[in-house]
């Protein structure tokens, strides 16, 4: 079943070579598995973290993400809550035989898409500030 193989490349036999789960090696640890101690690099993390622009970027992200998260959690749980405790209201038919409960459930899809769209639009702006921030410190992604 297992024949002698090349020492360096252990192609994962579980599903052969896959793009999501490379497996088995005797070389150095891949980057994603490294801990902070093993990850020595020339970047001064504290300096970036203390930077005004970095703090502003984190704050800007939080200003959207926190309220948006609170909103979708409330909007989502209002459905089982209203259906559970106000069945009279939610079973009212609104359009033909379609009741409020189904329409509210359906609206969740559009709510999710809308929030995702808002997030993506805002995130494009964050990408630009992130880029500016990194070039200020003379480092880049690649």
């Amino acid at each position: 079943m297992s024949s002698p193989r090349d020492d360096r490349d252990y192609t994962p036999i579980v599903g052969a070579q896959t793009d999501i789960a490379p497996l088995g090696r005797s070389g150095p640890k891949p980057e994603h598995e490294r801990t902070a101690d093993e990850d020595s690099d020339p970047i001064d993390w504290t300096q970036i973290a203390d930077d005004r622009d970095f703090k502003a970027l984190v704050r800007r992200k939080a200003r959207l993400i926190v309220p948006a998260t609170v909103f979708f959690i409330v909007y989502y749980f209002l459905l089982p809550i209203s259906v559970g405790w106000f069945p009279g209201l939610m079973e009212k038919t609104v359009w033909g035989d379609v009741n409020l409960a189904y329409l509210y459930a359906l609206s969740q899809f559009f709510m999710a898409w809308l929030l995702a769209a808002i997030y993506v639009t805002a995130a494009a702006g964050w990408d630009r500030s992130e880029h500016a921030l990194l070039s200020k410190f003379g480092v880049s992604h690649k």
Partner: protein, 527 residues
Amino acid sequence: MNTACPFPLIAAGSQTSLWMFLAFVAATLVITWYSARKSSGASAYFAAGRRITGWQNGLAVAGDYMSAASFLGIAGMIAMNGYDGFMYSVGFLVAYLTVLFIVAEPLRNAGKYTMADVLAYRLKPRPVRAAASLSTLTVSIFYMIAQMVGAGVLVRQLIPGVSYEVAVIGVGVLMVVYVVFGGMLATTWVQIIKAVLLMGGSILLSVLVLQRFHFNLAEFFSSLTAISSTAADGQTVTRNFLTPGLIFKNPWDQISLGMALLLGTAGLPHILIRFYTVPDAKTARASVVWAMLIIGLFYIMTTFFGFGAAALLGPDHIAANGGTNMAAPELARFLGGEIFFAFICAVAFATILAVVAGLTISASTSFAHDFFVNVIHHGREQKPGEEVRVARITAFIVGALSIVIAIVLGPSVNVAFLVGLAFAVAASANLPAMVFSLYWKRFNTAGAVTGLLVGLTSSIVLILVSPDFMKDPLFPLKNPALASVPLGFLAAWLGTVLSKEVPSGEKFTELQVRANTGLGAEKASAH
């Protein structure tokens, strides 16, 4: 009187449908084999540095997510009990906002691809990897059980005379062997092709349903207001399927299920690992959005084929022909004859195969390198190839366990319900540890380990003493999330504040910078 099926239906399991089914499955496998070969070549994508684009990864995420539970389970849930089944559709989609807002980008930016990687980065690697791999394994097994049940009922319906038990063992063993020795199955392309097939099948099914109602939505919905079925006591009852509460009499049940679905997705190992196949956080973000679009459209269509099965076939017919998990294929048989039935069965089967592959891979690799190599052997293989062997053995054990449990549970358990339990375990064990390690500076190893273990055990114990598994339930809710998720968070918090260990603030700072800028994820260099 059962007015639901005015046409005579062909008996289940005819020879033609079996052969057509096999032909469709074979064709799917050939297509995936070709595209996997063509696109990855000798060196895999990953190694070659050629990465997939946002929409491709979005399709793959959608493919991973739309499992047997979504297709067979939700359709059956809606077909048997109406509105309440649609709650699964809603929860499965809205959950992606949790993924998008809270985990996808920080995870990709930090260059981590499993929960264990994130935890081990700031905390003590060995204990957190051990706890994380245990919970990953458990979540995967729960998820797998649902797929095995789905595969079992499909095959039982296709091959006359085969019992459910034999079907589960046969199909389960075949799938695991194929995944372990077969190769190529876990590539992104399998998920992409599967997602396209599943969307195609669902669209066709929905259009054919609407055709019966002259493409008039008002007519479609009004047909749902009086669905007759035989109750447990033999009486015929007529119910309005648009009315909530036909399954969940207790509102807390709805809230608990909702919580599991909303918070569980962000803790699913095979979904998280997908964000590493894209080059950067921007693409990770784009792929979540693509996935949301595809998954959302798919779940909206469950309205048509779930309610459509209720209106056109009726719950009694479905119960007599394969049960709750066969509503969608039976609907296809009714609308499009044996060919369409075989096609839908093949799509469902390919779906199960692909999801089983993804799960087996993420479970066994996680165990092999998180637990075996990094915990037991301190990050080094003792003998070359050992990790691969451990992964293989793990894959077999995970497969065998889920086959056994699937048999014990039997064919009549709805697979969406089973997956709901997997989500509850993921939400209770994985989510607290992950959120705290990304956002809480003081969080430490003790907190992560207690959070993971308490979330894991409390969710499993509460499932075992719930109404579906016990005659006199000790816990009233069908899904444990309402209690076990807060318990997981509480344990993670208590474990942290009660232990003296103060984690390095520097590492948290570094993780913050990485998570917010993506610096270092792609080998950063100073110039």
